[in-house]
């Protein structure tokens, strides 16, 4: 393939035959990358500025060949990649893409649809409704979240974005749309556990509620929200003339994957007429297996629910699945219809326009990748992997428990284990640094009860028993050196 040059016949576009060759070349590159991923250091070893320095300061005046670009990917980009797709990636949360997902997303890019209105992408809208109903069935979500009732699901960019929509819906319900009309005022109060994800605070600030009006409810010894303290806080705020409007319960906190007592929290919310949002960002996926559905106890009392298929469901980012019990509460909070978006389909009332279900107007055809994943694996294949990840985590937790040098720092929950060396914070930090610098595995940390704790999350697509076993061997070997 030569560089595209202007000529009598050229319009600078990549001709189909070049695209065919480039796609083939890239496919081979991807296969080699995925098959050989374990030879790279999981966590990139570049220094700040190193990648930027290797790239030209100015854009090219003339086009370059695909060969050249792919060579530069190898030389300049790859060293700066932290390999989230490595089976030895145990940090933060998984972002476990899969081959069917890549194919679905490639098709989505090629169709290049803007599905902001049903009118501008009927299939984009309807496949999303169908696939999110499938998922609701797969997770055994309560009936209020199915599109055949008053609710339904929508794909959002992130749990942060979805939770923002929940806050806005709750805000408008509580103020009878006065916040949308007149501004928020300063009397609304929201509640979440002290272990909730940082996005709750971020969203509360975005929505104009004010950080001081977000109550971080203390957690019990197992790091779940104390429902008794939640109710006390709500009652106190009411006495003080505040308007409690929103509670976010975590099905799986970020630090320890603790599952808040949603049923108790839900009863309190109903009693005080407060919106209940359930953030099941990573853990939600587990409910595909009947034996893990205990995490959803009480979800039938929720107004909204979110989990990320782009974390632990083999679907590449972005694919956050957001469900509401009352879709009108969502669309009324976000809807605006200027003349240039009016159309007969919308006015017939027979269609869903997903632009009213989230912050952005534009939206790509994200349901395709999810559809490809579910159809490739089948429910059975997805369960197989989720079970395996939980199984491996359990095994690791029991190894840690039985090793005198270590302690579990929180109850092992699903695919996450929190642990530490019985020693100082510095020693644990040293342990983490050594493991991550080795390039052979990558894990992250948190603080629990003031102590530095390692988090190891098993959820990568290709993670198998021997990866977890090897990680454990390395942890023990490094601990040996530190002790």
């Amino acid at each position: 393939m030569s560089a595209p040059k202007p000529s009598a016949n050229s319009n600078f576009h990549m001709p189909s035959e070049d695209f065919r060759k480039a796609a083939e070349q890239l496919t081979e590159w991807i296969i080699a990358y995925r098959d050989g991923i374990e030879k790279f250091p999981v966590k990139s070893q570049v220094l700040p500025g190193e990648v930027a320095k290797s790239l030209p300061v100015h854009p090219p005046e003339n086009g370059e060949s695909f060969d050249q670009v792919l060579k530069d990917v190898e030389r300049f980009i790859l060293p700066g990649v932290t390999h989230w797709q490595s089976p030895n990636f145990f940090a933060y949360f998984p972002a476990n893409a899969s081959e069917p997902s890549l194919l679905g997303d490639m098709l989505s890019s090629a169709l290049g649809i803007q599905g902001m209105l049903w009118e501008t992408g009927p299939a984009c809208t309807e496949l999303e409704i169908v696939v999110l109903d499938w998922l609701a069935e797969m997770l055994d979500l309560p009936a209020q979240f199915h599109s055949r009732n008053n609710g339904g699901g929508v794909i959002q960019d992130s749990a942060s974005g979805a939770t923002l929509c929940a806050i806005l819906s709750a805000r408008e319900r509580a103020t009878n749309f006065s916040a949308n009309e007149n501004g928020v005022g300063q009397s609304l109060t929201a509640y979440t556990s002290a272990h909730a994800h940082s996005s709750i605070e971020k969203d509360i600030k975005i929505a104009g509620i004010g950080r001081k009006n977000l109550r971080l409810i203390e957690v019990a010894d197992d790091f779940t929200m104390r429902a008794d303290l939640l109710e006390k806080a709500i009652e106190q705020d009411k006495k003080d003339g505040k308007t409690p409007f929103f509670v976010c319960a975590a099905v799986g906190t970020t630090s320890t994957l603790a599952v808040d007592p949603v049923e108790e929290i839900g009863r309190i919310c109903r009693k005080h007429n407060v919106w209940l949002h359930v953030d099941a960002a990573m853990a939600g996926t587990a409910a595909i297996c009947p034996e893990f559905r205990y995490i959803q106890r009480g979800v039938e009392l929720a107004d909204s629910f979110v989990f990320d298929a782009h974390k632990w469901l083999f679907t590449n980012f972005d694919c956050s699945c957001y469900y509401v019990a009352d879709r009108a509460a969502l669309t009324n909070a976000l809807s605006i219809t200027p003349e240039y978006l009016r159309n007969t389909a919308t006015e017939s009332g027979a269609v869903t326009d997903f632009r009213e279900w989230h912050v952005p107007l534009g939206r790509r055809f994200r349901a395709l990748k999810l559809w490809f994943v579910i159809r490739h694996y089948g429910v059975e294949g997805l369960r197989f992997h989720i079970r395996q990840h939980v199984e491996l985590t359990k095994w690791l937790a029991s190894e840690i428990k039985n090793d005198d040098r270590f302690e579990l720092s929180a109850p092992q929950s699903l695919n996450l284990v929190c642990f530490r060396l019985k020693g100082t914070d510095e020693q644990n930090q040293q342990l983490m640094s050594a493991l991550n610098k080795s390039g052979k595995m990558y894990l992250s940390h948190t603080k629990l009860n003031g102590k530095f704790v390692l988090r190891l999350c098993v959820g990568q697509t290709k993670t198998e028993r021997h990866h977890v076993e090897q990680a454990w061997e390395m942890i023990k070997a490094e601990a040996e050196k530190i002790a």
Copy 2:
């Protein structure tokens, strides 16, 4: 390829050899689709519910083959696709993907990086900084938006999301972070033209400002904002004890692509210490050509600027390029650092963590597709197409002007022409319906001075002279029938 079945050797994943075949099959499908796209009706002809009805109600228990899935794409999805990539798509705004962009996005999916922190994706972060600096140079944006100064660019999901960030930064600057802390209150006021995009109102509501605190400033005869009325409104609000904090100027309104007088507006903003955000969502791209840089007059007075590479720059969704003059004003408004995101790179102060630059925490490697596009076309190739689109629009506008049956409804601006039959609204609506139902072209509408007006936007990747000529022939032929 057979359906994936559980067996002693199977773990349900798609083996590399199957992925190779599937990717090849899909590549051929995409080539055939793009080469043959003109044989499909541009606007999907399905009825509401038709796609959903064709799909199974329940998810598959067992996996299915890729062949089967691709067959279903053909049978059930394709009829419900509105072909945004057709050269005969003239509706709304272009979403002009290109082959290099598809390849870049495929690589992004395969790497599957979460670039929320520099630490979790150094190359993802640094390539984005470099490419957005390239773009700033290509558009000749003022120096304050370059990363080497106090500003910089970031890729966001949409102009809606970017404008929300601008509002939040402005809100916090105006309240000395009191809105983030205590809630918004009801005294802030914002301003935009009566012809601004609906996302401004949506974002103002999201940020808790209240729709009633957004002043829609009247436009002049050419549909640009009247700066004199803007200043009056600001002064009146100040007298009334309000705090003017945010102005959004349009470089290209949605209805007519009118360019607000940014320089005058900017001077007023400086005088009254109000944040100026410039929304150049579609039109911004034109500044790649020096002869169109008049649209940016005064942008050096702006605090923030957004344009969508996913509209008119051959890069598939999502790729909204957001620039700020003072990156601290943005990150201070959005930053939260919980323990589990702390890391030595961030604490060194030597790196950029893009999670603080937008609403979502997670982010995929979007700079790749933009980098692929710029390198494939070169600045010269991109200019070639932008010029051609504007040229064709000019030609069409002059044809319309010279035809007694039609009138231009607004000054032709860059790649958009607004026109109508000299006749009733019903006749114009009839004209649009007939054209869109023909399947041979797709255009949309707006209302100007109370009248129904057709909008024809030239910006699809593969749109050439004969497509615009054919569209004009069809418009005339349908008009003939109506008259």
